[in-house]
Amino acid sequence: MKQLLVALWLALGLGAAAGAADPLGSSRWPDLQREYAGNAPVTFDSRVEVLAPKVAEDSMNVPVTIKFRNLPDVKRVLVVADFNPIVKVLDYQPLLAQPGLSFRIKLQQASPIRALVQTGDGKWYAGGVWVDAAGGGCTAPSTGRSAPDWASTLNQVQARVFHDGQNQRVRLRIMHPMDTGLAPGIPAFYIEQLAVEDASGEAMLRMETFEPLSENPVFSFDLPDTGKAALRVVGRDNNGNRIDAMVQP
């Protein structure tokens, strides 16, 4: 199927117009590149590493880790899944965070999962992997919807900080249905903004999040160690409900 898509794409002569050939051979790439990077060139670079399983065992929870350790001055990381009905997963500003993050997404069908990384000079670097999937991840109702008490835990944060001597890894789970709006009769309801702040209220990382993130999303970030000071997690969903929790070191 992938080869077929590549062949089709080459046959249509789109390859030349799209700049660098997409190593993942996805027919969606030229459009995505135009949409997200505009006219800026995008380099496929092995320094942008996307870890995800070859096959999505659970289409509602496909784990993804993004690493861009050796790219200097990263300002922005866009994560997209080419063949999801809602392509954009998150738009991340690392600010003070170490170069990488982990999260889970819903996948509607087999698709590339990509990270588009922009550095301070405006250049884009991309990496990604194909994930095969039985599908249906985006159009199924969230499981929390069938539990009567989902609203009582809405936006509750569970967290843990792990210290390795240099950095601190912050793991977060935020209780939220993350409804895509694509399941019949259930409107889109998802976390839109999230930030981790230090004790003085300064953002250490910030991101916009979108419908394809998994229900009760789990994140991992690596931050400079702030010692004994607590971190604060703030955000809100698209209905204006706030997320606001203190995470003890």
């Binding site: 399983p53 096959v55 792990f162 793991r171 203190m246």
Partner: protein, 323 residues
């Protein structure tokens, strides 16, 4: 409705691929089932230690039959209607006695989707397995279509109609001990034929093929292995992998589960996320085992959430919010 649509798509896709690759497509749906004699009156069909593909049609599982004086007892029916039909034909080449009883060891599709071809014969599984077949059978079948394509044509979910009772059961001179266990799934039926000394372990035992965990509890699975290890077994038919006369299957399955438990536990307490855990190294002793990497990846998806959840604390609402 959606199921039918997917099914139609799967059929159309499968047909196209088959025609492109091989004009004599109809010949391709022969599983080539040859019974392997494993004890007096006892035969096994040993599947490949592979993942389900359009090439193997899901023949990746071990099934068995025992020819008793009263008739034939079948243990698991394979991944499809075709497999069940071909199994029946292969049994008929060994004996003209009728099939009088079917047991399903558990709810997974490669072990029971052939039930349809034994309709009319009493079929028994543990209650938890019956429930699993009822609730998830449709989704299992859809996924089998997706992976094996046209081999699944005409396969309909047929749930075992009888609840298996633990205990001894004599059929036509064979004394079977039905052992109700759990661990691989919520209802794992092991069948020990005390007359021949053969243990039909279902997927509680894997050998030289990485164990699968979509409905597993490692704690219960270990306890089940303890129970099986205490039986006076002469020969073991694992759910996947070769027939063997020693304890290799139990030992290797336990070794894998211990490693899995330890690895996931350490990963969670060191703060790793799922995709990072999936790329951890596989120990030397498992590297050559078929499907070790892909089953480890799957197991991380199945099991890691429970380990990780234990490490997370509920964070305090900030003071601002409390105001």
């Amino acid at each position: 409705m959606i199921g039918r649509f997917l099914l139609a798509l799967a059929l159309a896709g499968g047909t196209l691929l088959a025609q492109a690759a091989d004009p004599a497509a109809t010949d391709r749906f022969d599983y080539g089932l040859v019974p392997q004699k494993i004890a007096d009156n006892s035969w096994a069909f040993v599947g490949r230690t592979e993942d389900i593909t359009r090439d193997n049609g899901g023949n990746i599982v071990n099934t068995a039959f025992v020819v008793t004086a009263e008739g034939v007892v079948v243990i698991d029916t394979g991944p499809s209607r075709r497999y069940g039909e071909q199994m029946r034909a292969a049994i008929a080449r060994v004996t003209d006695r009728p099939v009088i009883r079917v047991f399903n060891t558990h709810q997974h599709p490669d072990h029971f989707l052939g039930n349809q071809s034994f309709s009319g014969v009493p079929m028994a599984a543990l209650p938890a397995a019956q429930a699993g077949m009822r609730e998830q059978g449709g989704a299992f079948a859809d996924n089998m279509y997706r992976m094996a394509g046209d081999w699944l044509a005409g396969t309909e979910v047929t749930v075992a109609d009888q609840a298996a009772q633990a205990g001894r059961l004599t059929i036509g001179g064979h004394e079977f001990e039905l052992i109700a266990l759990e661990g691989h799934t919520g209802g794992d039926l092991a069948i020990f034929d005390r007359t021949t000394g053969v243990l039909y372990a279902g997927d509680l035992i894997f050998l030289d093929r990485a164990p699968t965990t979509p409905h597993a509890s490692i704690t219960h699975w270990r306890a089940a292995l303890d129970t099986l290890a205490a039986l006076p077994v002469k020969r073991t038919l694992p759910g996947h992998g070769p027939v063997h006369d020693d304890r290799r299957g139990i030992g290797q399955t336990r070794d894998w589960l211990d490693w899995l438990d330890d690895t996931l536990s350490r990963a969670a307490t060191s703060g790793m996320d799922m995709a990072e855990v999936m790329v951890l190294p596989i120990p030397e002793r498992f590297v050559q085992m078929p499907l070790a990497r892909s089953e480890f990846e799957r197991s991380v998806t199945h099991l890691y959430g429970r380990y990780e959840q234990q490490t997370l604390n509920t964070a305090a609402p900030s003071r601002l919010k409390q105001k």
